[in-house]
């Protein structure tokens, strides 16, 4: 059983592991130096499973992964509450709890008799271990960052599986222990074989990364991701919107207010989202951050090898949406590409994903994206036309957008001026007010008679 480090009162659960510190009932205890984390682990995880630091395939930094000899590799996803809505977990001991193990049992017994144990975490972070394809992890050693700057890639050599694994574990001493576990080793080698050219040298198999195989493997993953349907938010933002047909002809005869509005909103859409519309649609790292949790759940599930049953993303097929108007297969192609780019941007080092994209463009792959590119280019051109048409030919708006904003600030100024005047009037006597009404025609100003000092 894996366990996180704990400060004082300890307990473990089968699936949910948490640590608690004992504190007085009313008075808040001091902040724990080593606050407990909430981590959801797979149910049938074995006792040999460990949390280890491995190199993150995308960012080349150390990240935590759960490795289990039986179930395979899991990455730990942390879900963080936005700072604006502070929340906490209240961790408390279930009295009818079983599975209390080890030395903590005695301590637990003592505590139970005296006072209840509880802990309120500082924030509502939740870590979830989700399956990850070990291929991504070994990719860091299969395709290491080129050391020299010249574009000519150095000649790749065949290396034995053990050599790769040796390199792989060099960054993570904790992982070294797993190399002796046969199941882990074979799983890694199997995944390596999927993307490598192999040569048998005696009783050893030698591996060398084959990028075309890698692209095929990635495409397979992406296709699998799309067969279950993309998460609703991705579908809406990146697929539906990208393939939206701009409305071109609005007949002037029936140009009611509604019609005009439609034109403007369509035009705005076109002008706002050119970045997302371009054929090089790519989910950047920042967009992952904003994606909903279902996004990452679904994607990691799609990339998993070990987990066979995949839960379909929630509320994906609940809403009957109008069909996408696009030539047959184009939407599917876009989905695959979106999924692929998502995988690349989250799990593949930048230099590898670059070469994958290059290979995709060269069209030697199993999936041909040319109809999609053609359609997207066509759409971009249509949008351009709509925007230019609107700027010239739209007389329905009396004022431009800029002026609308101006009017807002104008109103603000007017209000300020009114307030000032009101204040001034309050300090004005009735006599002064009456004098304002006096007809002063023909009367010269005082300064005409008396000089300024």
């Amino acid at each position: 059983m894996t366990r996180t480090t704990k400060s004082s009162g300890k307990s473990t659960n089968n699936s949910i592991e948490s640590a608690k510190s004992v504190g007085p009932k009313v008075q808040l205890g001091p902040d724990s130096n080593n606050p407990p984390h909430l981590l959801i682990l797979p149910e049938e995880i074995s006792n040999e499973a460990r949390i280890v630091s491995l190199q993150n395939p995308r960012f080349s930094t150390d990240s935590r992964y759960v490795v289990c000899p039986q179930l395979g590799f899991y990455e730990i996803k942390a879900f963080t509450e936005p700072k604006a809505t502070p929340r906490s977990w209240l961790l408390s001991q279930d009295v009818a709890q079983d599975g209390v193990v080890g030395s903590s049992e005695a301590q637990w017994e003592i505590n139970k008799s005296t006072e209840p144990i509880g802990y309120v975490t500082r924030n509502a972070n939740l870590c979830v271990a989700t399956p990850i394809d070990p291929l991504f992890l070994v990719l860091t050693v299969l395709a290491p960052l080129p050391t020299s700057k010249n574009s000519e890639s150095p000649k790749k050599l065949f290396l034995s599986g053990d050599d790769y694994l040796e390199q792989f574990s060099s960054t993570s001493p904790q992982f070294r222990a797993f190399l002796r576990t046969e199941s882990i080793k074979s799983a890694l080698e199997k995944r390596m074989a999927a993307v490598c050219d192999t040569v048998d040298a005696g009783d050893e198999t030698m591996y060398r990364l084959n990028e075309e195989k890698l692209v095929d493997e990635m495409l397979r993953k992406a296709t699998r991701m799309t067969t279950e349907g993309l998460p609703a938010s991705v579908e809406e933002k990146l697929i539906r919107k990208a393939l939206d047909m701009p409305i071109l002809g609005i007949s002037r005869e029936e140009s009611s207010l509604n019609g005009d509005l439609e034109v403007t909103t369509q035009g705005e859409l076109g002008s706002q989202t050119p970045a997302a519309d371009t054929p090089d649609t790519q989910i950047t790292v920042s967009s992952i951050g904003t994606a909903t949790s279902s996004f990452s759940e679904a994607s990691t599930a799609a990339t998993s090898l070990t987990k066979e049953s995949m839960a379909p993303p929630p509320d994906n097929k609940l809403l009957p949406l109008p069909a996408i108007k696009a030539p047959a297969g184009v939407a599917e192609l876009l989905r695959i590409r979106t999924a692929l780019f998502f995988i690349c941007s989250s799990y593949v080092a930048p230099h590898v994903s670059d070469s994958i994209k290059k290979l995709l463009a060269s069209a030697t792959t199993t999936v041909d994206f040319t109809p999609l590119d053609a359609h997207l280019a066509h759409l971009a051109k249509m949008r351009q036309e709509v925007v230019s048409m609107r700027s010239i030919g739209d007389f329905s708006r009396k004022r431009s957008m800029v002026e609308d904003e101006d009017s807002e600030s104008r109103a603000e100024k007017k209000r300020k001026k009114d307030e000032e005047e009101k204040r001034k009037k309050a300090g004005e006597s009735r006599g002064v007010k009456n004098l304002k009404k006096v007809n002063v025609t023909g009367m010269k100003k005082m300064s005409d008679f008396f000089k300024k000092k």
């Binding site: 001034k424 300090g427 004005e428 006597s429 009735r430 006599g431 002064v432 009456n434 004098l435 304002k436 006096v438 007809n439 002063v440 025609t441 023909g442 009367m443 010269k444 100003k445 005082m446 300064s447 005409d448 008679f449 008396f450 000089k451 300024k452 000092k453």
Partner: protein, 259 residues
């Protein structure tokens, strides 16, 4: 540091009452010779000039020149809290935020104290030269007030003609016309009812009655009023206060024939 004690709060009350319907905000310029005020109405056709000499106060102390920017409506509100016979003391720091007013009742031991917030007023100061006027008329202030009020009922403006026969205030309006003529008059028993006319040349000028009525609010300050006229220059209406203190109003004549 300014500290000025006025035996009768009434003086300041009446001065402020007379001015407050003409100007809204003004600076009280205090220096070692006394408290001065110069301000114009919104249309800049009338000007009020006040001087309360140091000897009006007892004691009077002003270490540095200081301008007290006051909203006259606000000052009126504070002064309303003073009885006419109260002893009034005004105090201010060298760079003041507030004007401190203390009213002491001479009869009872009542002492009230107010702080009035001051404001920065950017006012231009006009230099008023000593002028030899063509006609100088002094008369009871109540008489002048009565003439103005009576003629006001008929018209908006009054024509003042000073000749060797006397001074004629005349007006004509929609309902008709009217005129009041005063001649030099000497009352031995009640010298405050004298009417004196000094004339170097005949003068005839037209003025807005509304403004003159406004000036008449100072009638309570002095028994007599002095009108000084010359062609093509503003009319001077002067009320003399105790000592050589004064309250003067200037009004631009109406030129051209409207009405």
């Amino acid at each position: 540091m300014l500290e000025a004690r006025l035996e009768q709060a009434d003086v300041l009350k009446k001065v402020v009452d007379a001015i407050k319907d003409l100007v809204q905000d003004c600076n009280f310029d205090c220096n070692d010779s006394g408290v001065a005020l110069q301000a114009m109405d919104n249309s800049h056709v009338a000007l009020v000039s006040m001087m309360l000499k140091a000897e009006t106060f007892s004691p009077y102390r002003c270490d540095r020149n200081v301008a007290l920017g006051v909203n006259l409506t606000s000052l009126t509100k504070v002064l309303r809290a003073a009885q006419g016979e109260d002893i009034l003391t005004i105090k201010a720091e060298d760079a003041p935020d507030v004007l401190n007013l203390v009213f002491e009742s001479s009869e009872s031991d009542r002492l009230s104290e107010y702080d009035l917030k001051l404001m920065d007023i950017d006012q231009e100061h006009l230099g008023i030269p000593d002028t030899e006027y063509a006609a100088t008329i002094s008369m009871p202030s109540s008489e002048f007030k009565r003439i103005c009020m009576d003629l006001m009922a008929l018209s908006e403006s009054v024509s003042i003609e000073a000749s060797k026969d006397g001074v004629k205030f005349s007006c004509s309006g929609d309902i008709g016309n009217g005129a009041v003529t005063l001649r030099s008059h000497n009352n031995v028993e009640k010298p405050e009812l004298n009417v004196e006319i000094e004339l170097t040349e005949p003068v005839s000028l037209t003025f807005s009655l509304k403004y003159l009525v406004n000036f008449c609010k100072a009638s309570g300050l002095s028994k007599t009023v002095k009108l000084c006229l010359s062609n093509e220059v503003p009319l001077l209406v002067e009320y003399n206060l105790a000592g050589s203190s004064f309250l003067r109003f200037y009004l631009a004549p109406k030129i051209g024939d409207d009405e």
